[in-house]
């Protein structure tokens, strides 16, 4: 069975002031296997963030089903959802979402503290994780003292430290320069290699060409998907950009 199964997922936003409804997701279905690295691409406004928010159980779908390891996320009660999210999902955001009032180590500890873990246990986990993400020299620093690329690595560490089943990343390279982007993609590649399942929304073709599969989303629907298979990054890059051109020109 797949790790993640999304069946006919629908999301309709109703704005409070106008009666107008926005159908952000029409009917989205796809599956993600254990250990897969999936990229999601699409124009802005196509519903990528909405999709990720639903997968993260940060928002309720208007219809459809999300099964993570056989558990239906839409059926989990509000009271349990945070604990579930904390235990099973990790997030990486475009704007890092680090708290200025915590130093790097405490930012990473945050989900563990919320899960009521002992300090010694947390420290041991961080000791193992920090060198892999090349942040072992930054632990005592504060977010405003480090660069964007470093911040994003800290955010990844925070997502990984709970050993989640699935990492969800929303444009993680969106705020980074090309050099930081490269090193961050390397890190994603590396954690993928270690068996981590990743779902990453991205605008960057380069980022997407690292993934084992790319989903294209348009107007709230999955429009196309590409498997990397044995392709080189360069070949994959070419294919993605062709698909995007087609997508933008509106063709089928």
């Amino acid at each position: 069975m797949s790790l993640l199964q999304v069946n006919q997922l629908k999301k309709v936003y109703t704005t409070r002031f106008s009666k107008q409804q926005v159908e952000a997701l029409k009917s989205v279905s796809f599956e993600v296997e254990q250990g897969e690295y999936v990229a999601i691409m699409g124009e802005s406004g196509s519903g990528k963030t909405t999709l990720l928010n639903l997968l993260a159980a940060l928002d309720q779908p208007s219809g459809g089903q999300i099964l993570l390891d056989g558990t239906d996320l839409t059926k989990i009660t509000q009271r349990q959802i945070s604990a579930y999210r904390r235990a099973n999902l990790g997030f990486v955001f475009q704007d890092f979402n680090l708290l200025d009032t915590f130093n790097v180590a405490d930012n990473i500890y945050l989900p563990l503290v919320l899960a009521k873990q002992k300090h010694q246990v947390m420290a041991a986990k961080l000791d193992k994780l920090a060198p892999r993400l090349k942040i072992d020299g930054l632990l005592e620093k504060y977010p405003y003292e480090i660069s964007g690329g470093q911040k994003q690595r800290v955010a990844i560490a925070r997502a990984l430290i709970t050993e989640p089943k699935l990492i969800l990343a929303d444009e993680p390279t969106g705020a980074l320069d090309s050099k930081s982007t490269d090193s961050l993609l390397e890190i994603f590649e590396q954690i993928h290699q270690s068996g981590q399942t990743i779902l990453m929304v991205t605008h960057s073709i380069k980022a997407a060409s690292n993934a084992s599969r790319v989903l294209f989303i348009k107007d709230g629907q999955i429009f196309h998907q590409l498997y990397k298979g044995d392709m080189t990054n360069a070949k994959m890059y070419q294919k993605i950009s062709d698909t995007l051109t087609m997508l933008l020109s509106g063709g089928q």
């Binding site: 993260a56 940060l58 509000q78 009271r79 959802i81 945070s82 604990a83 999210r85 904390r86 999902l89 997030f91 955001f93 979402n97 680090l98 708290l99 200025d100 009032t101 915590f102 130093n103 405490d106 500890y109 945050l110 989900p111 503290v113 919320l114 899960a115 009521k116 002992k118 300090h119 947390m122 504060y142 977010p143 405003y144 003292e145 925070r158 709970t162």
Partner: protein, 640 residues
């Protein structure tokens, strides 16, 4: 010019969140100053000299406070506009344009503040006039007064303060570099360092202040030490809010097993930053609340003690005391002749030695060289049996060391020792009038001894007894007393007597303590306004600080409920710390204030306790209301 006016108006409107409270504070200050000044210059109040004196003091306090407070309020607005101004600058407005724009803004503020402030002031001052007349029980008609000099002074005061603010803002703009300004806002803040020295200074001075407050029993020392204690406690408050709070929080943070608990984790780190940025503001709120509590509780206590104290001091409606024993017959004849025309009763006349003594157990010491604890002192009248019998139509017959005793506080022993002699108490006297006008202390004793004994009491030989006539009457005594005076002066060159009239005493008490209470309420209003504005400003700044926090914490796996609880508890600690500390301050100041009050008025321990409880209760209620109302701003910002 039109362009600038429109721009300025738009700016003020767009910054309403910051600007409106500032404008309101300015209007409020104008109104307060106008009100107190218009009362000060109100023609009908000019005869009440102690009221005028208090109004003068009040007006001066308001001036000083207004300058400090409005400059603070201005700097808060200015800080939060930095970004806007630098944006204008980057978009092509030159500094001189900005300067003109800011001048126009200040002008608009001045017009609004003076216009609305005076309007509110003129309306409210009529009400205040009624209140002050009521509190001081002055028999005055209601007349509408609008003294021009007060309008002029209020306008001048506000113009001066706004001018100063403008100057400060201009200096800020001229000195600023727009790029810096834009960059500054996004910069994170360093975690504060632990300042051990300041923390120690805070602990020591707060401890010393508290110690002074609870250890001083001499009311004379209390009055001077009061200010020393106040200064020490203030210093301690500032140090402990700024350095102490952070030292404490960082100490907690260093304890890893404590810090990394879900309950403490976000709270401690969050509070460290909140305290770093806001400690002085919180200390200010705390001091202001303490001021309100002290001012209100003591003035309410004094005011509510007026009647008790008048009753204590005046056993009858009218007393006339002469210091010359040889005048007594003359005086008594004159008085008797003049009061024949009115109805009166309880007439008495007594000759007594009036003194003060330190009462310890059953012994009295008469020549204390140091006043220690007022509670142990009594005013004492000593009189001979024959004087007592004559004055009160009695027929006591005392032998040897027998005495009769009057005490207003229930003296229970059967003997009493003074001047190296022990006397047996043969009976008690109940006439309050026996104290004559020697009755200003909460403890009173009168001792009647037989005529030989009194002649042998050594220390009385150097002093002379006073002669007092007293009676109760409902009639208008003014013409009677005037006639007594006329008759007396016609036969004597010097007038050597004093008059104690219960109505005059009461009027005097109401004027003095009524004025004090009025000023107390007035200043408390001002302190409260300042505290409210600071609280509001803190809610604004905390709101902006916390805007992202909610979202991030939810994203990392806190439920909305948990986030709300975590941040709410921080905000509650943050805002209620000043209130709690101010109540603790008052608790320690309690005895000291009571000691100082002892100098003014008598018999008020119970009153003061009640007044304090009422004030604390009222402050807590008002504080909670203000908190709840201002918290709306906070949640509006955070929810965005």
């Amino acid at each position: 010019m039109f362009f600038y006016t429109r721009l300025a108006l738009t700016n003020l409107k767009n910054n309403a969140k910051f600007y409106l409270p500032y404008l309101l504070s300015t209007i409020f200050t104008t109104a307060l100053y106008y009100i107190i000044s218009s009362l000060r210059f109100s023609e009908s109040l000019q005869d009440h000299s102690s009221l005028i004196a208090f109004l003068d003091v009040g007006a001066n306090v308001i001036v000083v406070f207004a300058v400090v407070f409005l400059l603070y309020a201005n700097s808060f607005v200015a800080k939060n506009r930095k970004k806007q101004l630098s944006l204008y600058n980057i978009l092509g407005m030159e500094k001189r344009h900005l300067i003109v724009m800011m001048m126009v803004e200040t002008l608009i503020t001045a017009i609004l503040a003076i216009g609305l402030g005076l309007l509110a002031g003129i309306v409210l001052s009529q009400l205040m006039y009624l209140i002050i007349v009521n509190l001081t029980q002055a028999s005055l008609e209601f007349i509408i007064t609008v003294p021009l000099v007060s309008m002029y002074r209020s306008a001048l005061l506000i113009l001066a303060i706004l001018g100063l603010s403008l100057l400060a803002n201009l200096v800020r703009v001229i000195r600023s570099n727009p790029i810096d300004l834009l960059a500054q806002q996004s910069q994170g803040e360093k975690e504060p360092k632990t300042k051990i020295f300041l923390t120690l200074v805070g602990l020591v001075s707060l401890g010393a202040g508290y110690y002074l407050a609870i250890s001083i029993t001499d009311p004379m020392a209390a009055i001077t030490m009061f200010f020393v204690a106040v200064l020490l406690v203030m210093l301690g408050t500032y140090c402990l809010f700024t350095a102490g709070s952070i030292a404490l929080l960082k100490g907690l943070k260093a304890n890893k097993n404590y810090y990394y608990l879900t309950r403490h984790f976000t709270a401690i780190s969050g509070l460290i930053y909140r305290m770093k940025q806001n400690a002085v503001g919180l200390a200010n709120i705390c001091i202001l609340c303490t001021c309100v509590l002290v001012t209100l509780s003591s003035t309410i206590c004094l005011y509510s003690g007026i009647e008790d104290s008048v009753q204590l001091q005046c056993p009858v409606t009218q007393m006339i005391t002469t210091y010359y024993a040889e005048d007594q017959e003359l005086l008594e004849n004159i008085v008797k002749k003049n009061i024949e025309s009115i109805s009166y009763d309880d007439y008495f006349s007594i000759r007594a030695y009036q003194t003060i003594g330190l009462v310890q157990g059953t012994s009295i010491t008469f020549d204390p060289d140091q006043f220690d604890n007022f509670d142990n002192y009594a005013t004492i009248n000593i009189l001979s049996q024959s004087d007592y019998n004559r004055g009160f139509n009695q027929d006591l017959d005392l032998h040897g060391n027998e005495i009769y005793l009057y005490s207003n506080y229930g003296y229970k022993e059967n003997r009493i020792t003074f001047a190296n002699e022990t006397y047996q108490i043969a009976g008690t006297i109940t006439q309050k009038a026996i104290m004559a006008d020697n009755s200003y202390s909460p403890k009173q004793l009168a001792i009647v001894v037989n005529d030989e004994t009194i002649a042998n009491i050594a220390f009385l030989k150097n002093s002379s007894p006073k002669f007092t006539i007293g009676f109760n009457s409902e009639a208008d005594l003014e013409p009677v007393i005037e006639q007594v005076e006329a008759d007396y002066t016609s036969s004597k060159e010097k007038v050597l007597y004093s008059l104690t009239n219960i109505d005059q005493q009461r009027a005097y008490g109401y004027e003095l303590y009524g004025s004090m209470l009025f000023i107390g309420i007035f200043l408390s209003l001002m302190f409260m306004m300042a505290a409210v504005l600071i609280i509001y400003n803190k809610q604004l700044s905390q709101g902006y600080e916390d805007q992202n926090k909610f979202e991030i914490l939810q994203n990392v796996g806190m439920s909305q409920q948990e986030v709300k609880q975590a941040i709410q508890s921080q905000i509650l600690i943050f805002f209620f710390l000043p209130l709690v500390v101010s109540v603790i301050h008052l608790g320690f100041a309690y005895k000291l204030i009571l000691n100082v009050l002892d100098l003014f008025l008598i018999g008020n321990t119970n009153n003061y306790f009640k007044a304090t409880l009422i004030c604390i209760g009222a402050l807590v209620v008002i504080y909670c209301l203000v908190y709840r109302y201002t918290a709306k701003t906070y949640y509006q910002i955070v929810k965005k």
